[in-house]
């Protein structure tokens, strides 16, 4: 049986493609890079990861320029067919800018970049993205962003993950990650690809990559 093929997107300024590809590989998938100017996803793509970084240097607004590249047309079609898409940090921003997820990511309330390990509470166990975790269970996953305060109508999405404890960035409803109502497109500000190994402190990010491949 061949491994599930996962497209890992790369825009100019994308930074986390290598760690995202490693996480896909570690979960048993086959990562394939797809580039901003590509009009189609690689043949046989079953799922898409949009990794974090500073695509186009955050010029205009984070994610704004990347959302208008040819590859995002292919991602839209993939999502419309029910295919899974996971957007991490800048990937979440790109999904919101693309209209694949509702709302926007505003600058943190502190107006500073924050890098911190966070406890995330499962807020909705009904999506595929948290595997068998029950509501209220906690995942330890780091976040690091300047523009991570989600602003939107929680009624237009499914709130999958919330920050446990204090709200670090001023997002509505302590939102850390949401999916679309269909449940196949997921965006989150924390970085599950950096919580894959005991050596790095946590393996709680594995559940999101497992969901991508399920």
């Amino acid at each position: 049986m061949s491994a599930t093929r996962v497209a890992v997107l790369r825009f100019p300024g994308t930074l986390d493609h290598e760690s995202a590809a490693r996480a896909v590989e570690g979960t048993g998938g086959e990562p394939v890079y797809a580039h901003h100017e590509d009009a189609a996803l690689p043949a046989g793509t079953r799922a898409v990861v949009i990794p974090g970084g500073f695509s186009y240097g955050d010029h205009l607004r984070p994610g704004a320029l990347a959302s208008r590249t040819p590859i995002m047309g292919a991602v839209r079609a993939h999502a419309a067919d029910g295919g899974k898409v996971l957007g991490i940090c800048n990937g979440f921003q790109i999904l919101c800018e693309s209209g694949l997820l509702p709302g926007v990511l505003r600058p943190n309330a502190s107006l500073s970049f924050i890098c911190r390990q966070a406890d995330l509470q499962v807020a909705d166990s009904g999506t595929p993205w948290t595997g068998g975790r029950n509501e209220g269970e906690v995942l330890s996953i780091p976040f690091k962003h300047h523009d991570g305060a989600w602003f939107g109508d929680p009624g237009e999405a499914r709130v999958v993950l919330r920050y446990a404890g204090e709200n670090p960035n001023g997002s509505i409803d302590k939102v850390a990650g949401i999916s679309n109502l269909g449940g196949n497109v997921m965006g989150l500000m924390p970085h599950p690809e950096e919580a894959q190994e005991p050596l790095l402190g946590s393996v709680d990010g594995r559940v999101l990559f497992a969901a991508l491949l399920s």
């Binding site: 986390d16 290598e18 760690s19 500073f54 240097g57 955050d58 500073s112 970049f113 780091p142 790095l200």
Partner: protein, 732 residues
């Protein structure tokens, strides 16, 4: 600045050259230099580019060893870490620009050191910073601190290199002259290390990256090789402006070109821009370079040839490429959305030539620029020897707990979380020990090995006794690395000093270098790269002599690294090492005074070996260097990091405050399972002192110092230690 340039002042003086240097230039050239040539000499012969005051002193550093793959002289040094890989690293200052414009000054400091690493063909994998500002009760210092940290974050986060450590200190002596030192670490297969030496007559000279503008003109001479004064605002145009997005593309492009074997040589454009890069490449390769300035892509109209030659516009690299590879290079650059422009060629003349509008405006043997600078002997007037602190003249604190909390609230001791939370510490998913411990630990990508890295400096001791201060700066950095279980293998240094022609600065420079060299030799860690920043001085006085040392350590098995946090209830707490606590030059004393006993490099080396062995045998649950604030602060920090209390009894025989807060020697607070104490002691043998002083557990941290007991809830220690810097910034 323009007011100062009267018509009758000769050009060489306005450029910062002395009359003697100008005469020497005419003598070398056998004619009057053209204006562009004089501008080039003024920059290349500036202290910043030539190290004319410091170079003769640096020759004492150990620079060779079994692991050294490439020593000082290239863009960065390289050491063998096994698996055919080399770790490449260097620390560099960006002090003067940061004092004038902290955000861009600090940001471009990061950009510059990263380009040094990619010039060697290495992939950058870690960043660190050593920062010094005035006291936080000064509005100016708070502004510089805030903006420099933001600038480092802005640039470093966007280029995707994790920030794994560093240090921040505050002292009035840095009020006018803040220090911003940045270190970058990279990794490269040893057979792909690039040199900056130009080779192959007829090969093309290719400028890669950003376009050239007027930013940073004269940065090296006007800004970085003179004291700061009241007209600093006028120097703002000499500060460069960074574009991290372009830098990220440049990193990717240079690595891709290097992997494809398209480059003969590579060099970054830093201080003095094209002039410095081209002359270094020509001199190192023993060839000449001919540059057609009309082909340099410019950002603005009307630039003079001298400006094009010395512009310090950021995010540019200079490469030597075989003619047959030019199409591949240009094509690859285009795919990365960058320019790669053929601006000239390698010649056999040994001269740097520049054409402008078809006419020759520059023809200088490159060695004149790089090697023929007249060196300056620095005056070496010793400062009077300091007197030891008489402890009996100091009142003993009524409440040791309160004194302890006050020390934890000292911004020099307090948590620097406010700083490092603004940096991406994790990108790349290799960071194992994040900032805030003794040293950052990062896995070497694709291997099971890891490096431990830190930056440190003992500036108070260097002021009081520069030889000992040089030794201590090396040992403190190496001890930090050793506390992670890593073996210190090599070092880099950034020597930040005041005006070497004044007072005892020259003596302090020479003596501290001697101390550093002796310590590095004793612990077997050669210097492979470095940087010197002089003239960190204002009308209000000099900075402390600040020899910042970066040490790289190696862990053959990444999973054996040790952190600073107490891990388990009932673990034994050990005091390991040598030396006696003293209040001299301590944070508890709170001022730069006293005469601490000399540090002991051989005893420290034995301590490092013990820690490395314990790590390999997985005997220790934590290890933390006793440094600023003494034993009490080290115990508190390990307890806070672990979220668990502790109780210790310090060795009797001295006053309680000296025992708790005294500094000095090479001492480490470690913890281990009670059943492993005997094994640690056995490994230590007679070479290193190990005593059990307490146990982990409880909600308080308790220190019994000869019957005087300090007991403080862990929660209170943490609140004060974590809150101090944010409160200092918010209160204003």
């Amino acid at each position: 600045m323009s007011d100062a340039v009267a018509d009758d002042v000769p050009l060489h003086r306005t450029l910062g050259l002395t009359d003697a240097e100008a005469a020497r230039i005419v003598e070398l050239m056998g004619r009057e230099p053209t204006d562009p040539e004089l501008v080039m000499f003024s920059l290349m012969w500036s202290e910043h580019c030539s190290y004319k005051h410091s170079k003769p002193l640096l020759s004492g550093f150990p620079t060779t060893g079994p692991r050294v793959v490439m020593g000082p002289g290239e863009n960065a040094g390289a050491v063998d870490v096994g698996d055919g890989l080399a770790i490449v690293f260097k620390v560099e200052s960006h002090n003067h620009p940061s004092a004038v414009e902290p955000f861009q000054g600090a940001a471009t400091g990061v950009g510059g050191i990263v380009r040094d690493i990619i010039a060697v063909g290495a992939k950058p994998i870690a960043l660190l910073d050593s920062l010094r500002f005035g006291a936080l009760d000064s509005a100016r210092s708070r502004f510089l601190f805030r903006r420099a940290v933001e600038g480092i974050g802005h640039y470093g986060n966007c280029i995707g290199i994790p920030n794994v450590g560093g240090e921040v200190q505050f002292d009035e002596r840095y009020e006018d002259s803040c220090l911003v030192n940045a270190m970058c670490v990279g990794v490269v297969p040893q057979d792909r290390i690039l040199s900056c030496a130009a080779r192959g007559v007829g090969n093309r000279l290719v400028l890669i990256g950003n376009r050239t503008g007027r930013d940073g003109i004269g940065g090296a001479s006007v800004l970085a090789s003179a004291e700061l004064g009241d007209d600093d605002a006028d120097k703002r145009p000499s500060v460069q402006v960074g574009d991290p997005f372009t830098e990220r593309k440049l990193i990717d492009l240079c690595l891709a070109m290097s992997e494809a074997g398209l480059l003969v040589a590579l060099q970054d454009l830093g201080a003095a821009g094209l002039t410095s890069a081209a002359s270094e490449m020509a001199s190192r390769g023993g060839v000449g370079l001919s540059i057609d300035l009309d082909r340099v892509p410019l950002r603005e109209e009307g630039m003079a040839p001298g400006e094009v030659l010395v512009s310090e516009s950021q995010e540019r690299m200079l490469a030597i490429v075989e003619p047959a590879q030019m199409d591949a290079v240009v094509g690859m650059a285009r795919r990365h959305e960058l320019d790669a422009t053929d601006i000239g060629e390698v010649t056999d003349t040994g001269e740097l030539e520049a054409l402008w509008r078809g006419e020759e405006v520059v023809r200088i043997p490159s060695l004149y620029l790089t090697d023929d600078v007249p060196f300056c002997e620095v005056p070496r007037d010793p400062a009077p020897a300091p007197e030891a602190i008489d402890l009996s003249s100091m009142p003993e604190p009524d409440d040791l707990g309160r004194a302890w909390l006050a020390l934890l609230a000292d911004p020099n001791v307090a948590s620097k979380r406010w700083v490092f939370e603004q940096y991406d510490q994790l990108v790349g998913a290799n960071t194992m020990r994040r900032p805030g411990g003794d040293a950052g630990v990062a896995r070497i990508p694709g291997t099971n090995r890891a490096i431990a890295v830190t930056l440190d400096c003992a500036e108070w001791l260097t002021e009081l006794n520069p030889y000992d201060g040089g030794v201590a700066s090396v040992l403190e950095a190496a001890r930090n690395v050793a506390c992670t279980g890593a073996v210190p293998i090599a070092a880099t240094d950034c020597l930040n000093y005041a005006n070497p022609e004044k007072g005892s600065t020259g003596w302090r420079l020479a003596e501290s270098i001697r101390g550093m060299a002796d310590a590095l030799t004793a612990i077997g860690a050669p210097i492979v790269s470095g940087n010197v920043s002089l003239y960190n001085e204002s009308p209000r006085g000099p900075i402390y002599p600040t020899p910042v040392v970066g040490v790289v350590g190696l862990l053959d098995d990444a999973s054996t690294s040790i952190g600073t946090a107490f891990a388990r209830r009932d673990d034994a707490i050990l005091l390991i090492g040598h030396g006696e606590p003293r209040v001299d030059a301590s944070r508890y004393l709170g001022r730069c005074a006293g005469s601490p006993p000399p540090p002991d490099p051989d005893a420290d080396a034995a301590l490092y070996r013990l820690l490395a062995t314990c790590a390999r045998e997985r005997l220790l649950a934590s290890a933390h260097d006793i440094s600023e604030g003494g034993l009490a602060v080290a115990v508190a920090e390990s307890a806070i990091a672990g979220g668990i209390g502790a109780g210790v009894a310090v060795p009797a025989g001295r006053r309680a405050d000296e025992a708790m807060f005294g500094e000095g020697g090479g001492r480490v607070i470690a913890s281990c399972h009670p059943s492993d104490v005997a094994a640690v002691s056995a490994l230590a043998g007679d070479g290193v002192h190990v005593i059990q002083i307490g146990a982990v557990g409880g909600d308080d941290v308790v220190i019994d110092a000869g019957g005087s007991v300090a007991r403080v809830p862990l929660h209170d220690l943490a609140r004060v230690w974590e809150g101090s810097i944010p409160e200092a910034l918010e209160a204003q």
